[in-house]
Subunit: 319 residues, 2 copies
């Protein structure tokens, strides 16, 4: 099934060409494919889920999410199956799987982050994997097709929000944002070795503001967790301003000094992904609860304990 065409592809590379006319037996035996399959373009219509599978867009015939915790999620179908779903065109608030009465949008029990589809979307968020989004026909979205299914392109999972939904049960909601630049609408165009296409997937966005620059300057670009400074050309230093209570919905953390740390990219990534926690005494622990050092502070800079607690509660309540 998986024919190797290029010398330097190496192991683990999935060839998009091999996805054409896909059957269930085929995809069960292959590595997960991320990105838009060749021959498929944004806006393309499909009659039913079987046709979606055949084109390599969405392989399961029933599940709305195609993915696992280990591999990430490669594709979702949005069809208004959950009452808490919201479709804004360029971004979508998408409710995870589980807890639903069969054939009804009503929740009758809690969703968990460990359900394979939900766990897959969270992996896609942390690893910056592109997720194919297809809309099914349903009336509450102005972006849904009148009938059948329509491929909407690649999205990134940008937020993860475990909360109580409209029906009073825990839901695991994700925000997906459309990748702004997408590959041209050419059927069969090769995307494998095309840097222009590669550049369409943005995995990490660092917000930088006057306050973030001030905190970096206060610490002379040394990480408050490990003391590392990243030096570049001519001795230029690099660090990141890390918001402990995240900016943006649903957190609405503030862009102020007492919500910011100066961190190296490694510790910033770990903090943002729920792998590093700040205790009330400003020591640090990893996701398994082991102490892994502590934050150092300069005079005139404090982290508001409430912000550390928000971060702690957010990730602890997710598990």
């Amino acid at each position: 099934m998986c024919v190797r065409e290029h010398k330097d592809d190496g192991p683990g590379i999935q060839h998009p060409a091999s996805l054409a006319k896909f059957t269930r037996k085929d995809w069960k035996s292959m590595a997960r494919f991320f990105g838009t399959p060749p021959g498929v373009h944004v806006g393309q219509q499909f009659v039913d889920r079987l046709e979606l599978r055949g084109a390599g867009v969405h392989l399961p015939l029933q599940a709305g999410i195609s993915g696992t915790k280990a591999e990430g999620a490669d594709s979702i179908v949005v069809s208004g199956g959950y009452g808490d779903d919201r479709d804004f065109g360029d971004y979508i608030l998408y409710t995870g799987v589980g807890g639903k009465k069969a054939g009804s949008p009503q929740q009758i029990s809690d969703q968990t982050v460990d359900a394979p589809g939900n766990a897959g979307l969270l992996t896609s968020m942390i690893q910056g994997l592109p997720v194919r989004v297809t809309r099914g026909a349903y009336k509450s979205s102005p972006f849904a097709p009148p009938a059948g299914y329509r491929y909407a392109g690649l999205f990134l999972v940008t937020e993860f929000n475990p909360r109580v939904g409209a029906d009073g049960f825990h839901i695991v909601q994700f925000r997906l944002d459309r990748v702004p630049e997408q590959e041209p609408y050419e059927a069969g165009a090769s995307t494998e070795a095309d840097p222009a296409f590669a550049s369409t997937v943005v995995a990490r966005r660092i917000r930088d503001s006057a306050v973030a620059r001030a905190v970096k300057s206060t610490y002379d670009f040394a990480c408050q967790a490990c003391g590392t400074t990243i030096e570049g050309f001519g001795g230029r230093r690099y660090a990141e301003g890390a918001h402990v209570k995240p900016l943006g919905r649903p957190h609405l953390g503030a862009d102020v000094l007492n919500n910011l740390l100066c961190l190296c990219p490694n510790h910033h990534t770990q903090l943002d992904n729920g792998g590093l926690f700040i205790r009330p005494d400003m020591t640090l622990e990893d996701r398994l609860g082991a102490e892994v050092g502590g934050l150092t502070f300069k005079k005139n800079h404090v982290l508001l304990p409430d912000n550390a607690r928000y971060h702690w509660d957010f990730w602890k309540s997710a598990s």
Copy 2:
């Protein structure tokens, strides 16, 4: 001059309000201000350089670049002063300072990366600092105003390209890309503690492709330089696919396995910023030439020595 209004601003924060009606004496004594000053909006016209300074947009009256190596560059004026400049609206190829005959666009000697303006733009690139761009009236750009100066908003320095220009001398060219979302056009709006504004500045974009995902999977997300794996929620791992010969112009590196490494964010940042070099024997050295370990490789994966050499030559020739 610098009135503190908010309790948690701490040291080093510049208050935009204090920039109104700016004089030379004032700005010589203050920390550099990054971002759009309040009261200034994208598209705003200015009669002359004195008015640009008064509004806090561009403080020097002569120099096209406002900046230093230590602080970064906060502002440039684009006025077609160099024959190698190109203006594409949303992005600009901007030639650095130096080597020019006074009053003429012609180069008569080499530019260096150490000239303060050029060094400042390079610092802004490495640290992701937003640069104010103002266009002066000149006929070769369709985006330039018919007369006077027009503020074009915030840009990020995304490329640095030391090369031989049209006149046969070394030039230091930068690419600046417009920050897509900018603050609303409200005069005097406070931007200091507004997460929406903070989110407009994107400092680092990680390109991720099928090949990048394959190299990360090959190493199970462990950094080839230090063995670190970044763990997030539920043990999810994070690493970055680092292109050694960069994608995009002017490098045109390929998105293939033999041009990719699996690195932790810290080592990736260092490699991309000219702070880490790969020797032909795959050991690593820092910017001062000291050996700092070596890359580990799995079976079936090699880095093409030509790609390592390209990276080496690019940064070494820049100094």
